[in-house]
Subunit: 200 residues, 2 copies
DNA sequence: CGTAACTCGAACACCCATGTTCGAGTTACG
DNA sequence: CGTAACTCGAACATGGGTGTTCGAGTTACG
């Protein structure tokens, strides 16, 4: 509804210090919304090192901020996958590559989605369906088509399993119950165990 | 701190209608806390069909209610597993049985844990570690010891994977993306895919 | 250098959830 | 039946989050 698009590059008609503060706010929002629920405007302002009034000057409402943070997260993830070409790899190998590059992002987006649930319109959220998420899903489809991944379970279920296992890995990592160096490998091995056709 | 224990069976010095209302409140709390975050006292009172004042008469604070609900959930789960003897079955078969009997409970407890996080002392929560959860974990250990489950991934990681996949199944079921009849089977197959030793 | 853009603390109005009190009505139970 | 236990709506105090306004100070930028 609001005419000012925070799309990818904001309009240049803003002074440099204002632009810098907006940046700080979005990063703070990304950090807080991406890790804990119940974030307040004061929290974000403090985390960003900015006055509450300034925060409201740039983002008129809680909902506006939440939307901008989500948009920013999506922009980031697009940038992160841009250089990645998986089309030459077999699906299982491609999964390992994608995971290594993106699993933290994927997890953060999942947490973010949950924590802004009450602030943004679910439809709006659905429209912006994260391209990085889609990447994983299309890889899944390809793997099934190639026969490298199992076809005896619903595709949507496999997709959901991926996301929840990624979330599990992030949780365990954060709780110190998983070795940071081993984490990606463990996660990849687990995902592939789920995806491989059953030995039946 | 409060001297009145809501342990398993409350003291009999309460009138019948009061006892009935406590029951209704706990069930309402279990329903709400077990499914959505941000539950208010008014919500619980309304769901229980009881006045807000009555609610406070039985549970002086939000924290008291939350603790009582958790305790009630644990009592329920103990009752549900009581008749189950898995010691005669091989670990993979035992998992299927346990899952069929308990996965909804296990998921609800996971959600509950998350939703009362800000209301109860984490230490208190840890002390009461749900026996039903422990049941799954000890089954896991047994399976590894018997060689039926893989030993190349950390036991704690396997445990975390189980819980997250159970949660995934409950989510998908609630969202209508998973056939209610097929759900348990799909879940069991997925869990066993993770647990089985890799074919390598 | 001067002005417009920007920042920010203080104070305000508002809403919502938590607890509490009062007082009158209802219900269990001896 | 009579009393103690219980219920419950209304109203209050409190605390926290959301937005807004004001006014003075700072900073970018032509």
């Amino acid at each position: 509804m609001s005419p000012d698009d925070e799309g990818s590059s904001a309009r240049p008609s803003r002074r440099a210090d204002a632009q810098r503060n907006i940046e700080r706010i979005l990063e703070a929002g990304l950090r807080l919304y991406g890790s804990a629920p119940g974030v307040s405007m004061s929290d974000v302002a403090k985390e960003a090192g900015v006055g509450r009034v300034t925060l409201y000057a740039h983002f008129p409402s809680r909902a506006d901020l939440a939307r901008a943070v989500v948009q920013r997260a999506i922009d980031d993830s697009v940038a992160a996958v841009e250089g990645l070409d998986l089309s030459g790899l077999p699906a299982d190998e491609a999964l390992r590559v994608l995971l290594r590059a993106q699993w933290h992002t994927l997890d953060r987006h999942r947490a973010l989605r949950g924590n802004v649930r009450s602030d943004v319109d679910p439809e709006w959220l659905r429209e912006r369906h994260d391209p990085a998420m889609g990447k994983l899903e299309s890889l899944l489809s390809r793997g099934i088509a190639e026969g490298l991944f199992r076809a005896d379970l619903p595709r949507e279920w496999l997709s959901a399993s991926m996301y929840h296992l990624i979330h599990a890995a992030a949780d365990e990592l954060a709780a110190g119950r998983l070795d940071p160096d081993a984490a990606v490998g463990v996660l990849a091995e687990t995902l592939l165990s789920v995806l491989r056709p059953s030995p039946r």
